[in-house]
């Protein structure tokens, strides 16, 4: 089991360029999330999805778009990158909790994005 896999792991963009981060999970989780983490800070939720074909805004959604066309994949897009989007991006997934499930988040290794 690979768990949660993010690609690419590193990327450097120029202001105004676009790119897509791919998150793939092989645990058949219903829920998936994209977070960003800035130096010395906690994680902030960008967007999330509660199932295939659904997406919703998190805490800091501006400047990002997402899609969940397949249950195992959650894509994060930057249409016009800005220096303020320089960050480490983490994808996570979890079960829909039932009964005593903890709703544990499983995170990927992160994708470090630099926008010049």
């Amino acid at each position: 089991n690979a768990g949660v896999t993010q690609t690419p792991k590193f990327r450097v963009l120029k202001t105004g360029q676009s790119m897509t981060l791919l998150c793939a999970q092989d645990m058949n989780h219903e829920y998936m999330y994209w977070y960003r983490q800035d130096p010395g800070m906690g994680l902030r939720l960008i967007h999330y999805s509660v199932g295939e074909g659904t997406t919703a805004k998190g805490e800091v959604p501006d400047g990002y778009n997402v899609s969940r066309l397949k249950k195992q994949n959650f894509l994060l897009g930057l249409e016009s990158a800005a220096p303020s989007q320089t960050s480490v991006y983490f994808c996570a997934s979890s079960w829909e909790t039932r009964g005593r499930d903890t709703g544990e988040l499983f995170f990927g290794e992160g994708s470090r994005l630099t926008v010049l």
Binding site: G42, Y48, A56, S94, W95, E96, T102, E104
Partner: protein, 115 residues
């Protein structure tokens, strides 16, 4: 969402017990307390979750008083490899996403274990 407050950093030595207290004065009835651990250049990892009293697993213990306005994560006999950032989260279990129920990670507590 219940706001959490935890110390910014703590130092300890190998073999000692580390206790990190998290304050969450406005915790709601349906909220659980969950702790995550994050090593540098890695995503956070679930440590433990509790609702009340005490929960223990192979990694840590979580103590929650009756009023649930605070909680304490206890790491027994830490080693150098326990150096990490520890996050306290309060909210409904993550899988029960609903309007407003989006768990947020605060700044965490940076624990440094010294030899």
């Amino acid at each position: 969402l219940a706001k959490t407050t935890q110390p910014i950093s703590m130092d300890s030595y190998e073999g000692q017990e580390v206790n990190i207290t998290c304050s969450h004065n406005n915790i709601a009835t349906n909220d659980y307390i969950t702790w995550y651990q994050q090593f540098p250049s890695q995503g956070p990892r679930f440590i433990i979750q509790g609702y009340k009293t005490k929960v223990t697993n192979e990694v840590a213990s979580l103590f929650i008083p009756a009023d649930r306005k605070s909680s304490t994560l206890s790491l027994p006999r830490v080693s150098l490899s326990d150096t990490a950032v520890y996050y306290c989260l309060v909210g409904e279990r993550m899988g029960r996403i609903a309007a407003g129920n989006k768990l947020t990670f605060g700044g965490g507590t940076r624990v440094l274990v010294k030899p």
